[in-house]
Symmetry: C2
Subunit: 251 residues, 2 copies
């Protein structure tokens, strides 16, 4: 199976200089001439919520950068159990040079716009470029760090610690996006459904729901609606994570 052909859009950002994620993506370090070459072969595609961007075992026709939206990288067992290995956010790169077959399912969990390149064409450019390789290495090492952090969570943390860790992680990611609300309270929206959260944490949706309720009842978090979270005291929540998580500084 291969991914369905996505919708092709007229270029969103004719000039890469206007691209909002230009400074974080794989092209972050590219010089103007290289950027022009990338620009020449790029195309934008959208994927609807729930649509597959790649299938495990399927051929990878395009690689590219996620521009807006949210996607998950996951893998399943035959009986339906599923584990999400990573969450793709804007500026994250999908696909790797020299890998024709995807080992994982990649699914849009909100409407996604990707800046894509035909795989073969990208590989040629990648070989020649002095800037793409080092940037991809850096991004891959960051992914590996995130994966290793998550292995500690999956292997050794209780459900309560897992939820607390996840909330702290999301909170400190959005801290640099949204302004704080005067005092030190943190406010944000959960980008994931309970099911995705469960698949990310290696739990069931019921356990996720129960642990969130418990944290809510204890006053560690406030929940409005299903997704809106307020953390009145970040350090108090941090104490529930098992003490390995250090909020990362912004790029």
């Amino acid at each position: 199976m291969t991914a369905p052909r996505p919708t092709t859009l007229a270029p969103l950002y004719l000039d890469c200089g206007d691209c909002p994620i230009r400074k974080q993506a794989i092209c972050a370090r590219c010089q103007p001439d290289e950027l022009a070459e990338l620009n020449a072969i790029k195309s934008y595609h959208t994927y609807k919520k729930g649509e597959m961007i790649a299938y495990a075992g399927g051929e990878v026709r395009h690689v590219g950068t996620l521009v807006t939206g949210l996607a998950s990288i996951s893998q399943g067992l035959e009986d339906g159990r599923r584990q999400i290995m990573g969450i793709l956010l804007p500026s994250d790169f999908v696909g790797a040079p020299k890998r024709k077959i995807s080992q994982y399912d990649i699914q849009a969990s909100a409407e996604v716009i990707m800046c894509q390149f035909e795989r073969g064409a990208f590989e040629v450019l990648f070989e020649r470029s002095p800037d793409l390789g080092p940037r991809l290495l850096e991004m891959t090492m960051n992914e590996l760090d995130a994966a290793w952090q998550w292995m500690l969570l999956l292997g050794r943390k209780s459900a309560r610690e897992q939820i607390a860790t996840f909330l702290c992680m999301i909170a400190s990611k959005s801290k640099f996006l949204k302004p704080l609300t005067g005092n030190k309270a943190l406010v944000f929206d959960l980008p994931l459904s309970r099911e995705m959260l469960a698949d990310y944490l290696g739990l069931t949706i019921e356990t996720v729901s129960r642990q969130i309720s418990t944290l809510k009842n204890e006053g560690l978090i406030l929940v409005q609606g299903q997704r809106h979270i307020i953390i009145p005291d970040f350090s108090r929540l941090l104490r529930e994570t098992g003490r390995d998580y250090l909020p990362a500084a912004p790029d």
Copy 2:
């Protein structure tokens, strides 16, 4: 805390051409001139079984390649819980350019010999080299794949499936090293103690021991002594893994 100064040896392989892992390590693609430069700044160090090669939070003074032996990359929680993120085998690279501080504990689990470079000197060479970067990227992507595979195991597999998966993985790694015993039976030695196995799988030593005993009693494996394993029928064991694991082809 920083790692203790390791023993420095006279060069084991004066000529990198004699090095047994030359073709798999980070220097795999280096041309003779680069190899000479690496050769000029390399030094061999040994670490005794149990000795730390790096501490989480400690400064990284050397990077390098594991030449012989076995080491683990792990991370701990304050109360002593520990998760092993990866096993380092000969030809694996330790450390990364631009990372002064280790995020993880790296410990020799058998006597280890490393081919090391002073970090700063290596970084300078790394920047200039056209061959080191691509090779490191390739190795890092392989690490990431391994980590993602393991996340599925940690998050979604039962203890029985975890043990079966681990045994299949070790077996197919050693399949390419040792000749088969005529028929299709696989024979190998577990490189890890029960404690390491538990920390790798996110289990306790008791559970590991019980599951191995069960597989033994069911005839899926034969165990001689504490470490020596025989798999009479590989495909039968494979059926117990949860069906995600595909033995990798050799390099």
